[in-house]
């Protein structure tokens, strides 16, 4: 079963996880939110990620790190731990992507299989309401 770390600026990671748990109706205490404080120096934050990652790696099935923003400090720090097939990173997480990640973990999906599924889910979950309504009700004004 893959391990999951959720890394973000501020309290976003915790709030994302809290929302996902409320929607799913159950918590998964093994998923770790890592909230990189806005005022924390990068060495402290990197050490925080290193410790959480080491613990997550004990699962043995690889670690998925979900981060909030490509190019941001939390992602840049997480990227220093990237190991193809072992520590994979997906940036630009959204709530549907996180929910799907929790479900895939529960189903026992491998890390290598999970990454493309989650990227696709994260992207397809972005919906323009006007386009969605047009597609379904094309003849309506």
């Amino acid at each position: 079963m893959i391990s999951i770390l959720v890394v973000s600026h501020g309290g976003l990671a915790r709030e994302f996880l809290d929302s996902a748990y409320r929607i799913l109706g159950e918590e998964d205490a093994s998923i770790v939110p890592l909230c990189v404080d806005w005022t924390a120096d990068s060495a402290t934050a990197k050490e925080q990620i290193r410790k959480a990652l080491r613990k997550a790696q004990e699962g043995g099935a690889g670690v998925l790190i979900l981060t909030d923003l490509f190019g941001g400090t939390p992602t840049n720090l997480a990227m220093t731990f990237f190991q193809p097939g072992k520590v994979e990173i997906l940036t630009g997480m959204n709530l549907p992507m996180l929910i799907k990640a929790i479900l895939l973990r529960k189903e026992g999906t491998s890390l290598v299989a999970a990454v493309p599924i989650l990227r696709e889910k994260g992207q397809s979950a972005i919906v323009s309401v006007s386009e969605a309504l047009d597609a379904g009700e094309g003849s309506k004004p």
């Binding site: 409320r22 929607i23 109706g25 549907p96 919906v127 969605a132």
Partner: protein, 88 residues
């Protein structure tokens, strides 16, 4: 296979927590459960699927069940939806 037409009648529609209740209930049964609006159909055992229905209050939905315990599933799902998901 059995199908039944229902109407989502709670004030908030099939929002996240209501969808979660539906998915949890559907997963208690062995039969397949699909919910459709006039726009799309979703597997009622998938939270992300059910949320994509975006069924607001007064949306008609068709619940379709298929499997050994379908009668019981349909009865409980109807009770959940018509009971406004226990919200009101």
């Amino acid at each position: 296979m059995t199908r039944r037409e229902l109407v989502v009648c709670n004030r908030l529609g099939l929002h996240a927590r209501a969808a979660a209740k539906l998915v949890q209930l559907a997963n208690q049964f062995r039969c397949s459960v699909f919910v459709s609006t006039d726009r799309m159909s979703a597997n009622a055992k998938s939270i992300l699927g059910v949320l994509t229905l975006a069924a607001a209050k007064d949306t008609p939905v068709v619940v379709e069940v298929d499997g050994p315990d379908e009668a019981e599933a349909l009865e409980q799902i109807e009770a959940l939806i018509c009971g406004k998901f226990g919200e009101e």
